[in-house]
């Protein structure tokens, strides 16, 4: 009985729900009719004809200042999106906090650089100032002051970001590697040579930089903590070291680089040591003395090195002469006594 009541109730509810959606479906069409008549160009378009877009009028509640042909405006951080081709990839939380503290006291000193987002009217893509944006957000600010550039291509987004960071020598080799890999993967550039043109860096540097990404994730994770500690020379040595020493030892080495501040030369010698098992011998030049008979026939040589090494190589066919020399040499080193 109870179950029957339950199923009846469920049936009634289902019927009511069906009725509701039925009338809802009818409503929808009427509602669509009303909405479309108000927005003849779609819901995102303004219902009334808008005055010609004088960028950032009072309507957008943004202050507008024009400086050197560029516009300085305050952009709500919610509408300011990270540059997907930003040259910098790694943000140190400590630096963000530091700058947030400075912003909280002094306000934003330097405007960022942004461009209108082609896909979203009213939104912007940040080209330069990603640290500032994070710091502002962390300081509880809702807006960021930015200069605005327009008509940028994907590559421009990267190029500008790279140039501005480069001027402050602000992006690490690892930042570069990640940004360039993305440009290549997405076909924004076809070859490494194009990155050389884009950045003005040599082919060798570009190649060595990209090679950083071949390091295993655990090593990269350590580098990401303070990527500026790892220059391209050290980074390249690490990729070579990884090939011979493996992941664990490379992670140890990169940790040492970060903590002890090893120079790239020191890393290089560690890498060479690992490759050869021991330090490579410095090639020494010997002084050579030729041993000749009175008639000028060559019997052999004495070689002397600065390291203290001495080598005698002589051919004495006469047995007595040979034994005489041996005696002298043995006596010189006290060997004659030990034989007794």
């Amino acid at each position: 009985m109870a179950t029957k009541l339950k199923s009846l109730k469920a049936g009634m509810l289902a019927g009511m729900a069906a009725e509701k959606t039925r009338s809802d479906a009818i409503d929808r069409f009427a509602r669509a009719e009303a909405a479309i008549s108000q927005h003849p160009n779609g819901l995102l378009q303004s219902p009334r004809p808008v005055p010609p877009v004088t960028a950032f009028s009072a309507e957008s509640e943004s202050e507008t200042v024009a400086i050197e042909g560029r516009t300085l405006i305050s952009i709500p951080i919610a509408q300011l999106h990270d540059n997907p081709f930003n040259a910098r990839r790694i943000y140190d939380p400590a630096v963000v906090q530091e700058r947030a503290a400075s912003i909280a006291t002094h306000g934003q000193k330097t405007p960022g650089l942004a461009a209108p987002d082609p896909a979203r009217p009213g939104h912007y893509i940040l080209i330069d100032g990603h640290y500032r944006k994070r710091a502002l957000a962390s300081a509880g600010k809702l807006e960021m002051e930015c200069f605005v550039e327009s008509d940028l291509s994907d590559l421009d987004f990267y190029r500008l970001s790279f140039l501005l960071n480069e001027q402050r020598s602000d992006q690490s080799a690892l930042d570069n590697a990640m940004a360039w890999r993305q440009l290549l993967d997405e076909g924004k550039v076809q070859k490494e040579e194009e990155i050389c043109e884009l950045t003005g860096m040599s082919a060798g540097t570009v190649n060595k930089t990209l090679a950083l990404l071949k390091l295993p994730e655990s090593v990269l994770a350590v580098m990401r903590e303070r990527p500026s500690e790892i220059g391209i020379a050290t980074g390249y040595e690490l990729t070579l070291y990884y090939k011979v020493a493996g992941e664990d030892r490379t992670r140890d080495l990169v940790t040492r680089v970060m903590n002890d501040g090893l120079s790239s030369r020191e890393v290089e010698s560690i890498r060479k040591q690992a490759q050869e098992g021991k330090p490579r011998k410095v090639k020494e030049i010997s002084r050579q003395y030729k041993i000749r008979t009175e008639s000028g026939q060559l019997l052999g040589t004495i070689k002397e090195w600065d390291s203290g090494r001495l080598m005698l190589d002589v051919q004495l066919t006469d047995r007595n002469a040979r034994e005489d020399l041996l005696e002298v040499l043995k006596a010189r080193f006290g060997l004659d006594k030990t034989l007794l």
């Binding site: 959606t21 929808r28 069409f29 479309i36 819901l43 995102l44 987002d117 896909a119």
Partner: protein, 218 residues
Amino acid sequence: MAAKIITVFNQKGGCGKTTVSMHVAGTLGLRGARSLLVDMDEQGTATRWAAQASDERPFPASVIGLAPSGGAMHREVRKFIHDYDYILVDCPPAVHSAAPSSALLISDLAIIPVVPSPPDLWAAVAAKTLAQHAQVQNETLQIRVMANMVQRRVSIARQAIEILGDDGDVPLLNAMIGSRSAFRECQAIGCTVHGVPGAREAIQEVDMMVDEVLSLIE
């Protein structure tokens, strides 16, 4: 029972709206449902696609072109809602057209196909905004983003999909469609990938997508 209406839209061109809408419509048809696709794109790709089919094996859904009706499309669609179980609307890639708005206002589900790449991610934001605007008036509208033409082994694609998945406002469908030649071949022969010999993986992807779509609107 009135037809469930599914709108596939994104003002970005080339993100695979027609591929997705034709496969949802066609697969539902193959499963025995009465399925209609409304082609709102003036290029008429969907209409042309269906017309490629032979007389013996017609495209498994009805396909009609209503592009000229633009923002008034809902009036036409209304006439079909009792004749079909599912109506798919394939929208044009245009920001200024009222057709997507009109379609979203009468839909149960909005699918935004997105190719996992930066420009498509950016464009998807405007598409999500439009769907959310429509949701204000059409409260039962569900919105889903779907990763399309996915190259699973490319790292940027994986990262883009992660970003799409992290959006708290508009969920990402679990199902995704890969970048496969079967999706192009089937257009030439006027069928879904189910009619392409050897397209096992593509068929699997489409079936999973349709299952997930049904689970949302049923």
